[in-house]
């Protein structure tokens, strides 16, 4: 469990502190990364706010965040807790956890930006834990303006 928690700590650090270019290294080559709302999930609609079905697509997202998008400077801060391993195989773990993300836009006070649940599959690959699947489920259907970074 400590090793799994360390993966999440690294995940949050790469988004919150950077460099975001290294964030894709936490995923396997054919990993799935999605941010979905509870509403779409409940209605059986497949739409995701971010949807990547390869590490290459995750790299594109990381590159766009840093180099392509015009965004007002801001920082996210992840708090992740309540880890549970719901299923365990050989070198594979199904993990759920709660997350909260605070957003601080330059010149403005910090606000609660998003909260929800992770439903992930983690595998050990060449001795290293990586996300095979990372599904981020947001409680709110609505986003406060823009979703700039991964959650």
């Amino acid at each position: 469990m400590l090793e799994i928690q360390a993966l999440y700590t690294r995940y949050a650090d790469l988004i919150d502190e950077g460099p975001i270019a290294e964030w894709p290294t936490l995923f396997t080559e054919n990993a799935v990364y999605k941010i979905v709302t509870r509403e779409n999930l409940a209605r059986g609609w497949a739409l995701a706010l971010m949807s990547c079905d390869s590490r290459a697509a995750i790299e594109d997202r990381a590159y766009a965040v840093e180099h392509l998008s015009m965004t007002i400077p801001r920082r996210y801060r992840h708090l992740i807790s309540g880890f549970a391993v719901t299923q365990q195989g050989t070198n594979a773990w199904h993990v759920t956890a709660n997350f909260a993300v605070f957003e601080t836009i330059e010149g403005q006070p910090t606000v609660a930006f998003a909260a929800g649940r992770y439903k992930d599959v983690i595998v050990r690959e060449d001795g290293t834990l990586r996300f095979q699947e990372k599904i981020t489920i947001t409680d709110a259907a609505s986003i406060k303006n823009s979703l700039v970074f991964p959650l």
């Binding site: 015009m70 259907a141 986003i143």
Partner: protein
Amino acid sequence: MTTRQWTLNGTHRVPYWVYTDQGIYDREQKEVFPRSWNYVGLEPEIPNPGDFKRTHVGETSVIVVRGKEGEIHVLKNQCAHRGLEVCRQDYGTTRAFQCPYHQWTYRLDGDLTGVPFIKGVGGHGGMPDDFERKDHGLTKLKVATRHGAIFATEADEIEPLEDYLGEKMLKLFDRVFNGKPLRIVGVSRQRIPANWKLMFENIKDPYHASLLHVFLVTFGLFRADNPSRTEMDKTGRHSALVSQRSANPLAANAATQEMASFKEKLELHDKRLLDIVKEFPDPATVVMQTIWPNLIVQQQANTLATRQIVPAGPDAFDLNWTFFGYADDDEAMQTRRLRHANLMGPAGFVSLDDSEVMDLAQRGIHVDAERAAVVEMGGRGSEDHDHIVTETAIRAFYGYYREVMGL
């Protein structure tokens, strides 16, 4: 009532107070939204009798519900008794709407059926003898549908939806809403801290798209040198941008030279993000249509979506996206639409730039609301253009807006 006067001639200058003034906003809630055909959803969101969704017409909370015979009702979400919102969910399925306070109960068509203690209890109380349930239903809006899209209006007298769209806009509307059954891909919602009109102007302004959106330009999805046109209906209230993707998207040329952030060498790691399949008979690869007063219809690559604008005070609006495809999409197309949806929505590779820019616009406008925007790209008139280096559609929009608002 506001005392603001639009003193400038024409609409090539737009006074900033149209985005900030509470009096102007209040007048819009009376003159713009209730008197127009407002988009409220797509039919497959409520496929079966009793299915409902909660949404808005202007600021007004409404319920869009499918009745027993499959017909669609749009009802104001306000109990006839004490005014409570009778619907407390964004969506669901029900046999009736019941107010929690005194349990007044309404049928799916909005008629009042149940009033507890209507005849009193043990000879005490009860409603007056002349109280008629039929006089106290939920307020019903007029409904029109077109190939799966649902519109509603509070206006008693209004032209049919098809005439309201006009021949030119109807043709483009029917290009996507072509009568084939629709399939919902999903919804996303965002609260944008800007005046609702800035959303329309963003889509009516293709000039920005070829500069701001590095992603669009770099991958040739939308560029100033692409074959394009900008056109309006005869009132100027609706408009469309129609464009065709570059054959050789990555090459730098005169159109990209002035774009500081153009990245010639850029290549996607996962090229499936842009594995665009032609699905409409004409050569256009982008059609962005704005329908007065609250709808954007988007086709960019293989992502189709409606965007519903819901004003929330002068300084904010909700943008509700409904991504859709067709019921007969095969699995490959369903996957493709999901991938292409990365371009759009609150985290879209493209639309993210827009929500950020609108935030900056609203803040900047407040710096000095007595100044005016300069809207002169492509001239000062509001005629159709066969290019996109123009703000003509914004000028046309404000021509109609001034008429409606008496400004």
